[in-house]
Point group: C2
Amino acid sequence: MNNFTFYIPTRFIFGKDEENNVGKYVKAEGGTKVLIHYGGGSAVRSGLLDRVKASLEAEGIGHVELGGVQPNPKSSLVYKGIELCRREGVDFILAVGGGSTIDSAKGIAAGVVYDGDFWDFYQGKWIEKSLPVATILTIAAAGSEGNGDTVVTKEVEGGNLKRDAHGDAIRPKFTILNPALTQTVPPYQTASGITDIMAHLFERYFTNTPEVGTSDRLIEALLMSIIDEAPCVMADPDNYDARANIMWAGMLAHNDTAGVDREQDWSSHNIEHELSALYDCTHGAGLAVVFPAWMKYVYKHDVNRFVQLATRVWKCELNEENPEETALAGIAALQAFWKSIGMPSTIAEVGGKEEDIDYMAHTACWGDVRTGSFGCFVELHEEDVKAIYRLAL
Amino acid sequence: MNNFTFYIPTRFIFGKDEENNVGKYVKAEGGTKVLIHYGGGSAVRSGLLDRVKASLEAEGIGHVELGGVQPNPKSSLVYKGIELCRREGVDFILAVGGGSTIDSAKGIAAGVVYDGDFWDFYQGKWIEKSLPVATILTIAAAGSEGNGDTVVTKEVEGGNLKRDAHGDAIRPKFTILNPALTQTVPPYQTASGITDIMAHLFERYFTNTPEVGTSDRLIEALLMSIIDEAPCVMADPDNYDARANIMWAGMLAHNDTAGVDREQDWSSHNIEHELSALYDCTHGAGLAVVFPAWMKYVYKHDVNRFVQLATRVWKCELNEENPEETALAGIAALQAFWKSIGMPSTIAEVGGKEEDIDYMAHTACWGDVRTGSFGCFVELHEEDVKAIYRLAL
């Protein structure tokens, strides 16, 4: 087990109708003028935004609004938000939405109190100071509601730079998790979120760090819970309790409660990014395509770990003569599960083509800040990434 | 699933040698003069206290000491600590030890900044303000290193009052968890700690709150990890990684990561208390005696929940014709497990006698602040408690 620091100072407020108390929580944190940051029109149409504003007003808290956050949130909106906050004297940022909205809000919060260009943080500068951020989560997926990370995309000539930034200062002061708010998320988006959550767990699970039994068990627990609950929520989108269990698992999957003690491997996220960038599929759909292919490509590196996953989580019977068969059965079970909730299995299903593979593999390995290889469970070079895409055809 | 708030602002610093950096961490929290609070001589003999002092001194942080904390920490020492801190201008409390030391430190920390009698907190007053507390944990057991709870015993005429107090203000600012510090804990104490951790999980597991799948899985995960690791640490007390997995599980078992979403039942802790009060056994040993008896007494209330535990954690085969048999097989497996690590199974083994049962049951139900019954998974009255003690004979 590695040494580690685990620090999650966010107050998680979980349950029905809690968004109606948001004014009270902002006040407790000392906020007097709030930027309400949100995405598309659903937060407006559903009446959620009105209820948030009413709750703030009831506490005498001023507010301004900035909507329009898109998936893969853009730096242009972050700049706009920073300017707005400075002009209006905003002292508290409230994200109402999913991961993209929260990530954009974190960028704004860090940028407002920084003299330089906020993009510095996304080029490696640690975020030491920030306006306080809080969130009202409306989709279980990204996990940004529980961590100190943000991903923003900068539009530059010749392509987009999708970069991350980090710091305890941008951890949400509070996060309101009302599962009922996720009941209106459409099935495909719900399944994409579930897939993303599972991917966050797999990226932690496949490690070379030895002796991490407690967090292995925790990762398996969260996976099993999602496998239990996903069919319920797909069959009955209004199932509050299934939504609740998934929402709580989604936060725990990505705040390092499970997996803080180990080296993690985020290769599949890297490989997926090229898919969603090129074919505009959801991040979850891309992961459903990429992850099983990555697993098939690397499982021989540590068959025992794949067998452990297969037997504990997927209840595959152990083939003692041929444990590789058990490992592969686990991967097949995962693929079947994702298929059962409507996720794609192949690049073709997300509209991709074989002839793009060379380009995608090259960009994954050499684009942006990459230096030819990535991955620490198994290190991958351009030829490896091509082979993984081919396994996903 | 119930509504809940989950708030764990403690910084957990996990790994080898981290106690040697304690001065740096105290400084980061603004401490300038520290009370080092500890128990018996082992922290002195092992050189731990000297290393702590050296680390504080290297950062120019002053310190005073107060040792002598005993299991079931006493109010008299808390009063002494409060007086010492006020006299010496202490602004930071550092507990070096196990649960008793941490609980005593929390009492002191709350008392120093309170005008009235600190015992008010242990009579139900919420702790709103406190000096900052931090901990260096030396035994995996009580979980106090990760929560905002404290239990202190007041010696009064006619018996002791063992009471708890609570508040976010006494959550440790940081907790240093170095598994190597637990390698010198003797086998019986190690096993008692393991038993206490498992009991914290069972007390959460047995609930009437429906639809708590995610945290059920998390509780099961922590139990399975401890069941994996305990034999390793009993066979080889120097096994760092087994100690590490147990230490991390012990914190997570009692900070509500697993179980915040439900009504919990702490009956077995209440019933055990009479055993350790009367026969001076360890809390863990008492729990090993009481918990299986409680389970046997109440399992019919929710056979499915006991079957779930038996099949998932103890890998008992489900007897579909007779699920009660499966439930009982799980309880037997627990008892066998505790026996395998040297814990007692019967009241006789901790030196108890049948003729004390009436007294213990009466005190458990009517002593101190009790009002005749307790328990919310199954409500227990005096006759029930007697029956449970008898099942443990």
